[in-house]
Amino acid sequence: MGAAILFHGRMPMQGATGEVGSQLYDLMPEHLPALWAIGLAVVGGIWLTRRGRGPRMEAFRQLPLRVRAVIALLLVSGAAHAGLAWGSTGGWRALFAVSAAMAAIIALRIVDGKTWRRWAGLLLAGSLVGYWIEVIGGHPADQIGITVKALEAFALYLVLSPSPDQAASRRFRQAAATTGLVVISILNATAVWAGAFGSASGDTNPLDHHNHGTITPGMVVNAGEMSEISVAQQAEADQLWTATAAFTDRYRDVSVAAADGYQVANVAGSDFHASNPVYQNDGLMLDPTKPENLIYAMGPDGPVLLGVMFETEGLRNEPLTTGGAALDWHRHEQVCFALTPPGLAGLVDPFGNCPVGSLAIPTTNSMMHVWTLQGAPTKFGDLDEAWKQEYLDNLES
């Protein structure tokens, strides 16, 4: 049993394996210099800490551990921006270079015993806000950016936390810093999700000429599915739809579905996938009389059958080529599977976390939707959410 809560959008990225997915779980090629720069900064920092000589290194070693951590995090942020400057052009290059230089200057100010908290706070806050604006504005977030921003949020928390010389207002400042960290983390995640889904919902992808085949975080399709659909493939797809719609009409009555082995006991929400464990392991694929899942939405008078979802058996099996690109086969990546109770708990979040009690599943088997509901705007792929909601609202009235 499970519910498909994985929406599909656009703006895909071509992966190394020929598959197309979201940048959220990937590294953007133009960000790779930043990764290399971070690596160099970490190795260089460790070497300097152990072997470095001179008054500044002595002063560094005398600093409290948390202040040394701030320096390390500033240098990681600076290195990332230096790497980005290397791979950028024009105004962006200048902006990244200035940010990297400021990080280095503030690190030196800390070691030299000059005032630094205000400057570090401003730099880190500016970097975070700039990133949020950038990703919401349509530049997709990738793993390098997300990780660096998480580290910057932690650095900002350390900057805002009270030091021993602020004993008088210590408790208040600590609470304020903790609250600030929580707020920043939520804003960080919100911006990344909004950016990832926002950029995926645009109609700007030249590869994707389906009206309904869409890609967002958590979804992966084979690049081959972006090819043209032949007349013969379209005929195969239409034939499959007709046969499926005719046979599964009986499942509008959930008691019939239950009698045939579909798990319809707890239908909820507007996109509930009722699986049939027997059909999921019967060795058959694309059998219109034995779809692996039925899809229901909860209407005012009970479950409403929307369509079916076919699946491949196992992670390694490739889907049939019947219908070609018209069928919109896809799989999902980075999904959270809850054990309390068993069910899909969402996508792995930008920081790599799943809700407690669930596991991060890196990839699923291939699957494909067929929408059999009369009047549905599409037969395969994604069913338009607005249309579906309007349909359900009309049932209520």
Binding site: T17, L63, P64, D112, W116, A189, G346, N353, S358
Partner: protein, 142 residues
């Protein structure tokens, strides 16, 4: 319980150097407490996301939300314990649990996926508890 403060009195030093009076035994638990708070903030995000997911689909119910909030509470309490130099054996047990959970996710990623997509945040999830465990591995000063 009587506790001896290891934090020196503040004195007139340049702003940037005032903190350098922190005693060495204080530094490790303070950084560990900060990392615990950082972890708690991450799981607040997770709880919010799980709540949104539960509201949309209801597939996994509210169990993941409640469990995530319990973890947030445990992490914030742990941070306070460490900051106050109270016994932190349970904190280390909690961190080992989070480390084990991240390791299972990492193993799944390596064995089920042929690429390293999604691994960078998972590595961060491993690095944080490892750092906390190392920071709290020194003999506790009370």
């Amino acid at each position: 319980m009587n506790q001896t403060s290891v934090v020196a009195e503040p004195a007139a030093l340049p702003p940037g150097l005032a903190e350098s009076r922190e005693a060495p035994a204080e530094g490790r638990p303070r950084l560990a407490a900060s990392l615990l708070t950082f972890q708690a903030a991450m799981y607040v995000v997770t709880a919010v996301e799980a709540a949104a997911m539960s509201a949309i689909s209801g597939a996994a119910g509210w169990g993941p939300v409640v469990l995530s909030l319990l973890l947030v509470f445990a992490l914030l309490r742990s941070a306070r314990r460490v900051r106050q130099h109270r016994p932190w054996r349970r904190v280390r047990v909690l961190e080992f649990s989070l480390l084990g959970w991240a390791a299972i996710d990492l193993a799944l990623a390596v064995f089920l996926s042929s690429t390293w997509l999604g691994l960078l945040p998972t590595l961060t999830r491993i690095a944080v508890p490892v750092t906390v465990i190392v920071l709290l591995s020194k003999k506790q000063v009370r």
